[in-house]
Symmetry: C2
Subunit: 224 residues, 2 copies
């Protein structure tokens, strides 16, 4: 049972979605079950079906919430590559709030209102930059996928563990890599720490986003 903040919440569609997100954050997406959510609200599992059609619809709604939190200056007049960078930054920022749920968001771009708005904006800025329709579709998809992959690959932060357990987990992985023979795997051993850990998350994300935008810029240069 997740820490109940304040009084026992009353059941409602919004409350269910919010609790589901909190549960995913705390214990992983697998912990989000209809029966468990019933427990959280002190109610029969079947009670949830009044507020939510079924589990799939609940997961979709969770994905929509993530897009709804995207904050982007749609009126920006910056150059196209700066605008593309801003799109990925905004996606990453929204997804980091619920890292275990990125895959849910991924499939809801065209299904959610905010996702549609974001997609339209991104496709537009790419088309006006001079990309073909085909390139535009691919790059826009890659932008979303890049955000998904950066967040879901974020080293550490596995749910369902406290900090001690996470450190223990990391130490085990590190030991596993360092146990490899030094003559055959010098590079893995050299990079072990950097592969498993990252002490500046801001740098991690900026580096990933920079590389993506640089790739897009190079593609445009090659085409023109």
């Amino acid at each position: 049972m997740i820490a109940t903040k304040g009084a026992a919440e009353t059941l409602s569609r919004d409350a269910v979605i919010e609790r589901a997100l909190a549960l995913a954050d705390a214990e992983g997406l697998d912990a989000v079950t209809i029966r468990r959510l019933g427990q959280e609200f002190g109610v029969t599992p079947m009670a949830l079906y009044w507020h939510v059609k079924n589990k799939e619809e609940l997961l979709d709604a969770m994905g929509d919430r993530i897009f709804a939190a995207v904050e982007l200056d749609y009126a920006s007049t910056a150059l196209w590559d700066e605008q593309l960078r801003a799109v990925v930054r905004a996606l990453v920022q929204a997804m980091r709030a619920h890292p275990t749920c990125v895959e849910l968001a991924y499939r809801r771009i065209f299904g959610s209102a905010e996702g549609q708005r974001l997609a339209e904006h991104t496709l537009g800025l790419l088309r006006r930059a001079g990309f073909t329709v085909r390139q535009t579709a691919d790059i826009a998809s890659h932008a979303l996928q890049t955000a998904v992959m950066l967040v879901s690959a974020e080293p550490g932060a596995e749910p369902g563990f406290n900090e001690d357990e996470r450190n223990e987990n990391l130490a085990v992985k590190r030991a596993g890599l360092m146990a490899l023979p030094a003559d055959v795997f010098p590079y893995i051993r050299e990079a072990a720490d950097e592969l498993l850990h990252c002490d500046d998350m801001a740098d991690y994300y900026e580096f990933g986003i920079d590389m993506f935008v640089a790739g897009a810029r190079a593609t445009l240069a090659d085409t023109a």
Copy 2:
């Protein structure tokens, strides 16, 4: 029940893993359950536990299989960017054989023998190209993630559906996009076909890989 090719296979660790991959290809990863695999072999679910420790170990073994199929010229003397391209190409090729299982492979790089070999190779070529250890770790991770995202985002090819159902599915999605108001969503409507479908898969993958490598190249140029 998946089409039983030839006689009823005898139970063995290898047979279980292979059947699990075939099942995932045909009906998705969710269809892979211990009980279902028991059915496939005409055997009690518990019989599988003799050949496989538990479900997690089975999933890990499936991931290892994917890496084991990676074909790469480890002795290549090409320039670093061409070698990096070859790494992603090889990963994509191996993963396309079992597209629903890419996430299983993803977490097995450092756990499987072939994954370790591939990681060492990739880290080495990046280090010798002049990247820092931090950059090397990030770019190598991105290489794997790029392959994962290209394959898992491959338009169409959702399992558990025959071709008619997939076309129907596509038509529904297309109709959904074309139903958006033309004045607010001109770019989504323009790109609808390209967003949902791709008639040249080779181009799709080459474009994605090119963009990734171009990003890495630009990063090195900026650093130097």
